[in-house]
């Protein structure tokens, strides 16, 4: 009898150790430890044995039950922690994806610029797209029929109304409605009556900046623009300030950034010069202050403007500005 028990113990141990699933484990338990198992039958037949044999077999049965019980728990743990392959999933199949949206690259560029200038203390101000002659031109020291106006091919609506040719009229509107100090940026769409080509759109995206206070210096304009460009392009980017002309700033400057395509060695994007014109800026012309009723003796300030779509082109290597308003999904996904 004891030999039979040893045999049972061997078989059950082997079965438990090799069990590959919890289900299999359960059938092993039923076979060796269940109510109808041989071990249980031996256990129930103990009362028919003589006392001597009953004691030794009883002890052996109990030991085996405990041993197998412990082993069963162990096997159960082993199988559960390994996880059970449920129904043979092909894990390489793609998942069910939700739709993913994206902001327009120009919008993302605006966000980047607004965040940089926001960190430099500039607040956002906006103005209408349909402007009047005064805000778009006269107040910015661009008198009627002056050749300076030739630089702005204008869409007219009637004698006095036009589509703003730049975001600069927002400067005027903000100065009219507030008193210095003022420090704003004005993002938005602007319009020029030009036939669109790869580098010019009749609708495009600008960002204007204005700071007016007592004793503002040219060096501050340089400081802020350098800070801005380094944050945008990296601290080692080459920058160049040179003479410029805008009717609404005096002195005026044009700022070039090292070509991001060839890094200064000269390529087709920068026409071989290594530089790309990035923004125009200058100290607010006293005649502009006069137009909004500020005393030019008391206040000075600077203003700057830049093409946001152009910056986006430069940063992404996009070679045709028209792509931005075409909204080909293949383009929007890529950029």
């Amino acid at each position: 009898m004891l030999g039979r028990l040893r045999e049972l113990g061997r078989d059950a141990t082997a079965a438990l150790k090799s069990a590959a699933s919890v289900v299999e484990l359960e059938s092993i338990r039923v076979k060796y430890l269940g109510r109808k198992s041989e071990l249980n039958q031996v256990s129930r037949g103990l009362k028919d044995l003589d006392p001597e044999e009953r004691r030794s077999v009883g002890r052996a049965v109990n030991e085996l039950k405990n041993e197998l019980g412990a082993l069963l728990e162990q096997s159960k743990e082993r199988l559960e922690s390994a996880g059970e392959p449920s129904s043979g999933l092909d894990l390489t199949l793609p998942g069910r994806m939700p739709w993913v949206g994206k902001k327009h690259p120009v919008t993302r560029t605006y966000e980047r610029l607004e965040s940089i200038f926001g960190g430099l203390g500039f607040d956002v101000a906006l103005g209408p797209h349909v402007e009047d002659d005064f805000h778009n031109f006269d107040a910015l020291n661009i008198p009627p029929e002056h050749p300076a106006r030739d630089g702005w091919d204008t869409f007219y609506i009637d004698d006095d109304s036009l589509l703003r040719t730049h975001t600069s009229p927002v400067q005027i509107r903000v100065m009219e409605s507030r008193t210095p100090p003022i420090r704003i940026i004005a993002p938005g769409r602007a319009y020029r009556n030009e036939t669109p080509d790869a580098s010019h759109g009749s609708e495009f995206f600008q960002l204007e900046g204005l700071y007016v206070d007592r004793g503002v210096r040219f060096g501050e304009l340089k400081g802020v623009l350098i800070r801005f460009m380094r944050e945008l392009f990296g601290t080692d980017v080459g920058l160049r300030f040179r003479a410029g002309f805008f009717p609404f700033t005096e002195p005026s400057t044009e700022v070039d950034v090292e070509c991001q395509v060839c890094h200064g060695s000269g390529c087709s994007v920068c026409s071989g010069t290594g530089w790309v014109e990035l923004l125009g800026a200058g100290m607010v012309d006293p005649r502009v202050f006069e137009a909004v009723g500020y005393d030019p003796e008391e206040f000075t300030g600077y203003a700057f403007g830049l093409g946001v779509d152009r910056i986006c082109m430069m940063m992404t290597g996009t070679d045709d500005i028209r792509l931005f308003l075409e909204n080909d999904l293949r383009f929007l996904r890529q950029i």
Binding site: V100, G101, F155, L163, R189, G219, K222, G223, V224, R333
Partner: protein, 794 residues
């Protein structure tokens, strides 16, 4: 402005090549670029005398020539009609290079060996087109033709800004170069040798319109011989792209390019009564300009007339009748100051723009006129053998003294930095030709030279100091003072909407603000969308209107993407629409979008169904949820854009904000679309106004919720929304939520009926509800619904 370095060197010495000079000018004046001169790369060409020129025995139009090139002689075959023995021309021997990088090799032409070729101005890149080979004077065979023909010249393109008309002339640029390089500016030589009757005796000038022409100087040069210009003059003009015509015409062009001030030469004998009258044109008056176009004039036009007829369109173009010709003997020279606006309007009205009108529009220097006239007279005497009549006829005024500006040196320092002091300021201004005197009390009195009319206020002078120092020479600073400013909450809210749409899986697009009459009329026209604002001068004649709706341009995007195979689209735009608003022009922010193609992304276990109304409505309701707007509602819609059965208005708290739904078949057809398209357009300002500005914390519920369902059989056409509204209207305090969870139509119901399943959730904030309390509340609602409407319990 095309700038020849050789020409510039007539007035200033500088030790820079074109690249260095362009950089210096770019830094301190305006953008300058080295241009690729067409003659760049020409190499090894020499002056050669044609010794013999005999007809080619095998070809009618060719000659076989022996040429002496100094170091020997060669035989060349030449096809030019003007080749003749004794002339001096330019030989391109084997191994030399002509324009376009073309290397010359020996070759046989119709059986005769040609050792190089005699070249034309075109073949050297000197002219765009030319006939015959170059004829040279005053040079020996083998002599250096490089400087004589300007082949050693370098060209810079200067982007002259409207405030610097002085730089539309070489002298203005030379003054800048002198100041920026610290070298000396040389004025051109003037040598008149006046003789004979005075100008005043020979001609008269009357200005009838002193506004249009404040000053007019006339001079007379007699006994000129019209002929070709000397090589230096032809070369100078050619270097900046002006064709040489004859000595007198070339001199007027040369002096214009030298001073930036256009002048005009009349044939003195064809000016009736030798009398000049400056007046406005009469309406309908006609004259033929020297380009042989008959022009009908209007009172906008200022005319130069002789004793009887117009002889020139002032500041724009001369007349054909008084033009200098080969027969001209005597010259009446005009140097005038015309009002910029008068010239601009006159030229604009005729649709012409000339080198002259361009310069007058930008403004000329009335104080330099005597000198400019004298310079032209001097050249005419020298190059055409004329005699200059003493004196000049000078009508009008030079506009009075040039201004003086008081400059406070402290303001220079405070704008440019501590290290820019008085000495630097004085030196800078002096170098640019300003007269500087001490003004006392730390101030300077600065006399502005007459050619710098752009300088009128102190800030202009500060810019001069900055230009002299170089923009790089100012120390950057980043001071920080914080400024209290009202934050633009509208912008923040719009960004919030933008973010929400992107989170809902939509691509943002930016489309044109313009639209066509045709596209808006497809979706209802101005009756629905309001009166559009029309551009007077659209760039695209098809799209003269400002958009009153986003739909047309969004549907264009849907179509163009469909055409490249992008069928599954979820796009939106956040932008402005424009419309006439009473007498004014209004613009509003709008959120619009479109969804088409598959409702869910393609996957391996599901064939995606096309987008339907409820996919779209779900997006809008989810948007409202994302924006904390808790009560969006559908409202009536009666436009033509949407399908009558699948379109609705969008409103919040009873305020209509827009519409949403499936495009009508008619609109789909108009945009050549076949897949169903869900669209929406919502007034953004209204929507943003519905977003709560502050959200208040409410204690989280501590007691469990209980749910009860009910199925109601209602008329097939009844709206679930009406039942929901009726439930909410009851105001049951324990009811916290109602959802539609099932709709059933089928055999188990009587015809014309449907079953709506509602799930109602009950909860109290004070205690755990007993089953009894929930059942009571639920049966109150159910019995109300069955009593007050035709709904029956299923």
């Amino acid at each position: 402005m095309t700038v020849s370095l050789n020409w510039l060197k007539r007035y200033v010495d500088f030790d820079m090549d074109a690249t260095e000079l362009a950089l210096r000018l770019t830094d301190s004046l305006t953008e300058a670029e080295v241009a690729d001169a067409p003659w760049k790369g020409v190499e090894g060409v020499v002056a050669a005398r044609v010794v013999t020129a005999d007809p080619h025995p095998e070809a009618d139009k060719l000659s076989v020539c022996v040429v002496d090139w100094g170091g020997g002689s060669s035989t060349v075959v030449c096809g030019a009609p003007n080749v003749h023995a004794g002339m001096t021309s330019v030989l391109a021997p084997p191994g030399s290079v002509i324009a376009g990088g073309h290397r010359i090799e020996e070759q046989t032409i119709r059986g005769r060996r040609s050792h190089g070729m005699l070249v034309s101005a075109q073949e050297l890149g000197l002219e765009e087109s030319s006939e015959g080979i170059i004829e040279l004077d005053g040079i020996e065979p083998g002599g250096d033709v490089r400087s004589l023909l300007g082949l050693d010249d370098e060209i810079i393109d200067l982007d002259v800004q409207p405030n610097r008309p002085d730089c539309l002339g070489m002298i203005g640029i030379a003054r800048e170069v002198a100041a920026l390089t610290g070298s000396e500016f040389r004025f051109p030589r003037i040598d008149l040798n006046e003789a004979g009757a005075t100008a005043a005796e020979m001609a008269s000038v009357e200005i009838e319109d002193p506004h249009g022409c404040p000053r007019y100087i006339a001079r007379v040069i007699s006994d000129v011989t019209i002929g070709p210009s000397p090589a230096w003059l032809a070369t100078a003009l050619r270097s900046v792209g002006v064709r040489s015509i004859s000595n007198i015409v070339d001199i007027t062009n040369f002096v214009m390019l030298e001073f930036g001030h256009p002048i005009h030469a009349f044939d003195y004998d064809r000016v009736a009564d030798h009398r000049i009258v400056v007046r406005r044109a009469m309406a309908g008056e006609v004259m033929v300009t020297l380009d042989d176009v008959e022009r009908t004039l209007a009172p906008e036009h200022l005319l130069i007339c002789d004793g009887s007829n117009p002889v020139a369109l002032a500041g724009v173009m001369g007349g054909a009748d008084s033009e200098v010709s080969d027969a001209t003997r005597n010259i009446l020279l005009e140097c005038a100051w015309f009002d910029p606006l008068v010239v601009r309007r006159g030229a604009w009205k005729l649709g012409v723009r000339t080198e002259a009108s361009h310069r007058f529009e930008h403004g000329v220097d009335p104080h330099a006129m005597e000198m400019i006239a004298a310079r032209a007279c001097s050249l005419m005497a020298e190059l055409a053998g004329g005699t200059v009549a003493p004196g000049l006829v000078d009508a009008g005024t030079d506009g009075g003294a040039t201004p003086s500006i008081t400059l406070d040196v402290r303001s220079v320092t405070s704008m440019l930095g501590e290290d820019v002091g008085r000495d630097e300021t004085v030196a800078a201004l002096t170098s640019f030709g300003f007269g500087v005197a001490d003004g006392g009390d730390g101030k300077l009195t600065v006399d502005v030279p007459s050619h710098r009319a752009d300088v009128t206020v102190q800030a202009d002078l500060i810019e001069e100091v900055l230009r002299s120092r170089g923009y790089e020479g100012v120390q950057p600073e980043v001071p920080f003072h914080s400024i209290d400013a009202p934050p633009d909450s509208d912008q923040a809210t719009r960004n919030h909407v933008l973010d929400a749409m992107v989170r809902l899986g939509f691509y943002e697009v930016l489309t044109t603000s313009f639209m066509s009459e045709g596209s808006i009329s497809q979706i209802g026209g101005s009756e629905v969308w309001g009166e559009p604002i029309e551009l007077l001068n659209p760039v695209n004649k098809e799209m003269p209107l400002m958009r009153t709706a986003m739909m047309p341009s969004l549907l264009d995007v849907v179509r163009s993407n469909r055409n490249v195979g992008e069928r599954d689209l979820r796009i939106f735009e956040l932008g402005k629409v424009f419309r006439k608003d009473g007498d004014g022009l209004g613009e509003r922010w709008v959120l619009a979008g479109a969804m088409t193609g598959a409702a869910v992304r393609h996957s391996w276990d599901e064939t995606p169904r096309p987008v339907d109304f409820f996919d779209g409505k779900g997006v809008l309701w989810a948007l409202a949820e994302a924006l904390d707007i808790d009560t969006p509602e559908e409202a009536c819609y009666d436009g033509q854009l949407l399908d009558a059965g699948a379109g609705a208005g969008f409103s919040v708290r009873g305020e209509g904000l827009g519409f949403f739904g499936m495009l009508s078949k008619k609109v789909l057809a108009a945009w050549e679309l076949s897949d169903p398209v869900f669209v929406f357009e919502i007034d953004l300002e209204g929507l943003c106004g519905c977003i709560p500005t502050a959200v208040e914390f409410e204690e989280l519920p501590r007691y469990p919720k209980a749910r009860r369902d009910v199925a109601l059989v209602v008329d097939e056409r009844s709206a679930a929304g009406d039942v929901l509204a009726a439930v909410k209207a009851l105001g049951e305090p324990l009811l916290v939520d109602v959802q539609v969870f099932d709709i059933y139509v089928g055999k188990q119901l009587p015809p014309g009926k449907k079953s709506l399943g509602f799930g109602l959730t009950y909860m109290s904030r004070e205690r755990t509800l007993t089953d009894r309390e929930v059942d009571d509340a639920h049966s109150r609602i159910v019995s109300h619904l069955t009593k007050e409407s035709d709904a029956a319990l299923r």
